[in-house]
Amino acid sequence: MSKYSLHEIIYGHHDLRVHVPISSCTLATGAQEVYRAIEDYIKRTGVSAEIHRVGCMGLCFLDPWIMIAGKNLPPAIYANVKPLDVEKILDRYLSEDLSGAYALRFRIDDKDYGIPLLDDKPEWKYQVRFVSRNCGIIDPESIDEYIRTGGYEGLRKALKMKPEEVIEVVRKSGLRGRGGAGFPTWLKWKITYEQKSDEKYVICNGDEGDPGAFMNRLLAESDPHRVVEGLIIAAYAVGATKGYIFVRAEKPLMADRLEKAVVEARKKGFLGEKILGTSFNFDIEVYRSAGAFVCGEETALIAAIEGRARPRQRPPYPAVSGLWGKPTLVNNVETLAHVATIFQVGVEEFTKYGTEKSKGTKMFCVTGAVKRTGVYEVPVGTTIKKLVYELAGGPIEGRKVKAVQVGGPSGGCIPFNLFDLELDYETLQAYGAIMGSGGLVVIDDSGCMVNVAKYFTDFTLAESCGKCLPCRVGMKIMNDILGRIVNGEGDVSDIEVLRDLGVSIIKTSLCGLGGSAPNPVLSTLRYFDNEYREHIENRKCPAKVCPKLVTYVIINEKCRGCGVCARQCPANAITGAAGKPHYIDSSKCVRCGACLISCPFGAIEKT
């Protein structure tokens, strides 16, 4: 986007333009209330102003943020805004006092307001905003703003080419599926293109189920037209007439925005019959899934649209025989957004970034024990250290990072000493994790790796569709064994059983869910063998997390006998006379930790 159009969108045609992000994550932190407070302010003061609804920048730690752009003033971003602060912030801003702002979007003159530029902040500086370029800048519900930033230009260019040429462009870009496995996108397109069939389908896979990954949601909520445009280009390339966008019902805003985008695109003639005066006909339906992790798997996703559940054995691959037995192309949200952007700005812009084998950028969600949680778009091949320490700001004060979990329940844990690894498909696979959708959960020394492994098997166990045996029963047994270990009832032989069973499940499962479900266990066994042994041999949880292996005790010297803990205890396990040290009956204690939080004197400790 050129500086000019960015300037234009940020300032609009009023004296004052306030940008408020309305997306799931900001709404959860109260953006709606902030929006109302700004409305009130404008009504009350009568200033010529406009509120601009935008998507989310991806800097979740700022939520809810607002950006104010006033005449002759630089646009300033304010973080963690509360409805009550709105008046003060706007008053000050209008009197040219920018103190309290988090950063300036850009400068308009040389005047120094003592506020850093967003571009100088590490969490922004190291990012390459390629597909997320519009996130947090344009109104996601306005097709005009998208078009003004160069939207649907890519489609125009693609429609002037032959389908083979479109596929050739994608081949040159070296784009690989951003949904996890990293299959070359052009190859998938080519196979679908080569099938002879009266009907073909394209599906956008927006069934983002990995806990800790929400880049697809963010992208589709903040810039839905980019996804729609990508899907239309894909449909043109493979010769499809009907497309689906598959979205989780749990993410209603994402579905609503995509639905609205489809309606608007249809009005403008980007969808429907004879698109842009060519003979190409295509339409899109937004499909709301009822929510199942396995639906991220192509064949299960197709089964869900057909009104069934469960994946099936591949081959035949969906590219050959998919929805209703017709050739079907399934691509991830981010992949399609990349396609649209590549056609808009050209292949060279894309291939500038990335590694030899995987080009371009990838959005990563960094959550867990870091200072700056959020979604960061960086070139493929950025090191974990850079992402976790420089962009996300490293661990919370006084803590040490122990590992990072990459790729959700199908991925693995990478220990701290391997943080120099580059984030790309092959490297991660070699070290027992996967790129997956790109969720990174940072685990610090307060996390127990065995417990984390148990958590992921709980997840996959609940999400297993139950069709094939290794995943259905094998995961149950792995879960049982881990349950025994975290309860301090493990046996040394269990480790070997977990390893053998895990490898067997990976190699013999029917679909990708089972084929990757043991990864969290295998990778923690590989790098945190000592923690397993500590649980099994010494019946101790080094991080003091596993409830059965932790006891809460009151330190007599510190206890003043105030009785706060006894009142908080849900199990009535704490007794003691007023003014005298209290005592916890560990046979009654349910290990909820309520007493530890409530004690004003820090007299309760975990051992």
Partner: protein, 215 residues
């Protein structure tokens, strides 16, 4: 026709055939469980796995490709088949002593074929039509002993003393212990005879005995 190689035997099969067809045509066998040719072919049990061009795939539902090299057995395959079959047994209610199939079932034959030690001697015992000794109140180790000995003991009408070893399937243990209890085998007798497997009973087994006998 598609040319494939099964364990170094070259063979032609019609296009669209599954690997299992090629294997059978070449005269080899793979263990099958959930596969019922035209009735049920969903590749769910993963017992019939083979290696096609080095990759592990279910032979019942994987189409052949030109020049495919198929291996029907090696160490890795048999290990994984065994694991998967143990998973079947782990969810199966193994009560061979009370089962109407009288030992003539797919699970018993597969467990012998794959060398999985999860099925108790009772499966064979009932095959010969012998009267169950436990049901007569005699402490016999049949319900807890690995099958495969041709049940010599019972042929001589003597109780099984467990020389084949302890069954590995935990789901069998609980059923067996309940069966002993139902037939009034004393807890002490049971503890005495199971000592053949270990000098000191493992705590997990001991706890189970206590649990079942307390109910």
């Amino acid at each position: 026709m598609v040319k494939v190689k099964v364990n170094n035997v070259e063979i032609d099969v019609p296009p669209g055939s599954y690997i299992i067809d090629a294997i059978e045509k070449a005269g080899f066998k793979v263990p099958l469980l959930c596969y019922l040719q035209d009735l049920f072919n969903e590749a769910t049990c993963r017992i019939c796995i083979v290696k096609a061009n080095g990759r592990i795939v279910p032979s019942c539902r994987f189409p052949v490709q030109e020049g495919m090299v198929i291996t029907t057995s090696d160490d890795e395959l048999s290990k994984m088949r065994k694991i998967n079959f143990e998973l079947v047994l782990a969810t199966h209610n193994i009560i061979c002593w009370n089962c109407y199939r009288k030992g003539s079932c797919l699970l018993v034959s597969l467990s012998k074929e794959l060398g999985v030690e999860g099925i108790p001697v009772c499966s064979e015992c009932s095959l010969y039509g012998d009267l169950c000794l436990v049901k007569q109140g005699i402490p016999c180790l049949g319900p807890l002993t690995i099958a495969g000995c041709e049940a010599e003991c019972t042929k001589q009408n003597a109780p099984c003393i467990g020389c084949r070893g302890f069954v590995s399937s935990t789901s069998t243990w609980r059923n067996a212990l309940r069966f002993y209890k139902e037939n009034n085998i004393k807890k002490e007798d049971l503890e005495a005879i199971t000592r053949i497997f270990w000098p000191i009973l493992p705590s997990r087994f001991q706890n189970l005995i206590r649990e079942v006998y307390m109910q």
